[in-house]
Amino acid sequence: TARTLVPGLSVLAHLEKLETQVNRSRKKLEEPQGAQAVESSLGTKIRDKLRSEVKQRQARVAVRDTSVEPDQTLEISEQKAWERKRENVKAILQAYRFTGLSGKLTSRGVCVCIHTAFEGTLLDSYFVDLVIQKPLRIHHHSIPAFIPLEEISAKYLQTNIQHFLFSLCEYLNAYAGRKYQADQLQRDFAAFLAGPLQRNSLCNVLSFTYKVELRGQAFTFCARLLYKDLTVTLPTDVTVTHQGMDTLPTSWEEQRASHENLFCTKALHKVFASFTQREKLDMSLVH
């Protein structure tokens, strides 16, 4: 850019010289006629100099425009191709989140993101910041304290990092799934609950009392769900007991047993959704 400015500067410098000459001459000459004559001749000189400079510039620009164009179009199309490739790679990097595992390189190593979901509903994400050194270590993370991170790291971090990550995936997704089911129960089926839903932070011990109405009769059941395996979203142990002093009639005993089975095989909120449906059906039959 200095190159392009310099010729302009020299012209301007020359102009200034000429202008001062004109002013000096004007002051010197007292005869208006003479002064005007000097002025006009100097003015002509200035004007001609400026005209030639402008013409030169225009010519230079025209040449540059025509000479650059073919290179530029090749440059632009090559550029566009590289940009398209880059956008594609960026998109694929973003798409890793759909595998449940994504990551970004850091100055220390890599920050891995673990994504959770339960039956199609996307839930929270957690991260583990790894320092790539010998031995591999965790710089910091957002894994909740009740997930056995130390245990999993001790087993797999140094020997099989993939297993470490996918194992963490299992634990976190299972926890997210259990939590989701408990939250859904509290949110959408509170009408069934006779008391608060009792749960621990891992959401692997749930206890609640619920009432069921059928054919005009209502009974209260107490359910206790245990998820002994932390990588599952369906309980490993279920007990449903009858709340109350009176003995349960046979048909209701059957109900109680079927509920136990339902809680073992179906997601918690889905079990209650089926209760709602059954009640609706029941009501429609009665009326």
């Binding site: 402008v54 994504s102 199609g120």
Partner: protein
């Protein structure tokens, strides 16, 4: 005199016009390229046309190495990805300030010897309180399906539940088990070349063991890799026996009958490799029989 004055005025006017034309920087486009070349660091950005191709290529190189790292870290290599977004609107939704966006994604890649192609839809619903994202449709195509017949099991379960993450988790563990099974079969084939037969190759789900001294006796070790309801991948091994009738008649203790059960017990105690090793070593080390390589 008047004409000379006029001439001076005219000259002055023309100078006034020409002067700025000399001071002004040249029109853009012409010199832009040279400017860019002199100051590449200022114009290094994502804005089109301003980035030098050298920087673009180095940035791309960095991104590609990040991609390679991620695929090595996860064992999953995504080759292609595309997405289409559609905003769904209706006057009722706008009233309640609810915004719905439907995303259509297409993803394909490989995980070791298995290649996958996924098409799924995500519905994002934004209302005053929160944003929810739900997978509303999931379609999965896998290859090869003939070699790994157990694949279709967990694929249909994942599609049913629209559980994308479970699919990839199960895929990872499934592939890990397949590789381990293949390595184990190969290992025993190398160690007991006469006795061990792999009629369908090392990637198959079974291994034939023939006693070298008693050719009528044959064992088939079936090793299936199954996925349960939760998407957990579990190996399931079974022992099948082929014994000549005469031998069966002589078998007073019913050893053959209980072989399968005995094998399962052995598995739980020793683990897969050790259990197979003990079985094979017994079968192959008969009186004067062949000893392992």
């Amino acid at each position: 005199m008047d004409s000379e004055l006029a001439e001076v005025r005219a000259l002055e006017a023309e100078i006034a016009v020409l002067r700025p034309a000399c001071e002004e920087p040249p029109a853009p486009g012409g010199d832009a390229a040279s400017v860019r070349k002199s100051f590449p660091e200022i114009y290094q950005s994502d804005s089109e046309g301003w980035e030098s191709s050298k920087d673009l290529r180095s940035n791309l190189g960095h991104l590609e190495s990040e991609l390679l790292f991620l695929s090595t870290l996860t064992g999953i290599s995504i080759r292609n990805y595309s997405k289409k977004t559609e905003t769904l609107t209706s006057p009722e939704m706008a009233e309640k300030s609810i915004k719905k966006v439907l995303q259509r994604h297409r993803l394909s890649g490989t995980c070791h010897m298995i290649s996958f192609q996924l098409e799924f839809q995500i519905l994002e619903v934004q209302n005053k309180e929160n944003l929810s994202s739900v997978i509303t449709d999931l379609n999965i195509i896998m290859e090869p399906t003939t070699t790994y017949s157990e694949l279709s099991e967990f694929v249909s379960r994942a599609e049913e539940r629209r559980d994308l993450f479970m699919f990839f988790r199960s895929l990872h563990f499934f592939v890990e088990w397949c590789e381990y099974r293949k390595r184990t079969f190969k290992h025993f084939k190398e160690k007991y070349p006469e006795a061990v037969r792999l009629p369908e190759g090392a990637s198959a789900s079974y291994m034939r063991v023939q006693s070298t001294s008693q050719p009528g006796f044959e064992l088939v070790i079936v090793w299936r890799i199954q996925t349960d309801e939760e998407g957990k991948v579990v190996p399931k091994l079974d022992l099948l026996t082929k014994v000549p009738r005469q031998a069966l008649e002589l078998d007073k203790k019913g050893v053959v009958e209980t072989a399968a059960v005995g094998f399962r017990a052995l598995l739980s105690v020793l683990g897969i490799e050790a259990a197979l090793e003990s079985l094979l070593s017994v079968l192959c080390m008969e009186h004067g029989g062949q000893s392992p390589q």
